[in-house]
Symmetry: C2
Subunit: 238 residues, 2 copies
């Protein structure tokens, strides 16, 4: 795994990879790189021992992750109180087929991040958050559209989670087979998996003279979503 | 949402969609369709109130979901004891951009399933499970490769979860904007997102005369992963 020159997350009992430690990484560059290339996180929390995992879009500012939803949402109301959270972001990069069932695997990138949820209640902070969310996906978009209304801000809840601990786990490359299986019959290899963009489909109510906006410039047809998102995250940051 | 002619999951306090109930579905056809089109589930569980969400490949037999991993895995050891679990499977289908921040959204399909974990400890059952897992991904693959060894079965843990409750949530279609924003300036529309397959990359140690196997027939270059997985699931079932 890449070792960043910069800061790393502390390796804790909760995040230390016991199985296949070579697949683990704790440096911000790897962790943030995976987070910034993703669009949906799986947010886990528990109420009276009952776990729930909610898939939700998210954004990141430094070591804090944010997500939002309807103010009345049961999940967000529970999280607003400040509870332990585990956020996992994962992406499949390939199907790995070996000459034994055991050697079959997936190539993937994933991050598991731990922290406590906290409600963002201040209207100005919610506005900044929602704008940052839009800008993370579509740089410059907030200047292309009208301003968020106060009434809209009041209809949503924004939750933040400072990442107290995080680890990345990555499998990449080819088939790992036992030596005894190398001579065996049959095919083995990797089938790459990519998430890509289709051609933008303009809303039927838009006039024919309206061009595609600069904010979706990275989302060209057949572009990879993870690379476009990573590029956009850097564009906003730089 | 499609209403299946067949069986539905009971709508419970835990699974009833309070927000946007029109996006919810509880019929097996919809729930199983999303599960069979996915490859990685996010499995949530909690230990002493601390949630964890682990991304893992899975398979399904009727109303039971299965996943596996190294026998020594902390997560699987915790789950082997029989604890409440929430399994969430989600897929992004499109980026939705409106002429207000509020009208931005994602098209997606997701399933949230609740149950209790249970270890599959019998070696024969583990073997059937691992074969079913391989066959779900690559129909006929178990006949192309050598048999799973007992020693290999002993190195893994297999966890099953009967789905006690489940709901699906789907957003599809175009932009939902307020009437007052329709006349506004700028572009609005949907950018489709698809997860697709690249060209199979044969392992360097395979002879040049070895053809691609029938088991990966659905994974042709540029094919959609979700459709190929759904097709394979039907091929195994029928």
């Amino acid at each position: 795994m890449t070792t960043a020159n910069g800061t790393s997350f502390e390796v804790t009992e909760r995040t230390r990879l016991r199985r296949r430690p070579a697949r683990g990484a704790y440096d911000e560059a790897t962790v943030f790189g995976i987070l910034d290339a993703g669009i949906v996180a799986h947010v886990g929390y528990a109420i009276e021992g009952q776990p729930r995992v909610v898939a939700t879009a998210y954004w990141r500012e430094g070591r804090t992750l944010y997500w939002h939803g309807a103010a009345g949402s049961q999940a967000l109301r529970a999280q607003a109180g400040g509870i332990p959270i585990c956020v996992t972001v994962s992406q499949v990069d390939g199907l790995v087929l070996g000459r034994s069932g055991f050697a079959h695997s997936l190539n993937y990138r994933s991050v598991m991040a731990f922290g406590r949820s906290e409600a963002v209640t201040d209207r100005a902070a919610k506005r900044r958050g929602m704008d940052a969310f839009i800008e993370r996906l579509y740089p410059g978009r907030t200047r292309e559209i009208r301003r968020v209304q106060d009434a809209e801000l009041d209809m949503i809840a924004v939750i933040g989670m400072h990442i107290d601990e995080a680890s990345a786990k990555v499998r990449e490359g080819g088939v790992n087979e036992k030596d005894e299986d190398l001579a065996g019959p049959g095919w083995a290899g990797v089938i790459p998996v990519h998430t890509t963009l289709g051609a933008p489909c303009t809303d039927a109510r838009i006039g024919t003279g309206v061009a595609l906006p600069p904010s979706i410039g990275a989302f060209t047809q057949d572009a990879r979503l993870d690379l476009a998102l990573g590029e956009n995250a850097r564009a906003v940051r730089d």
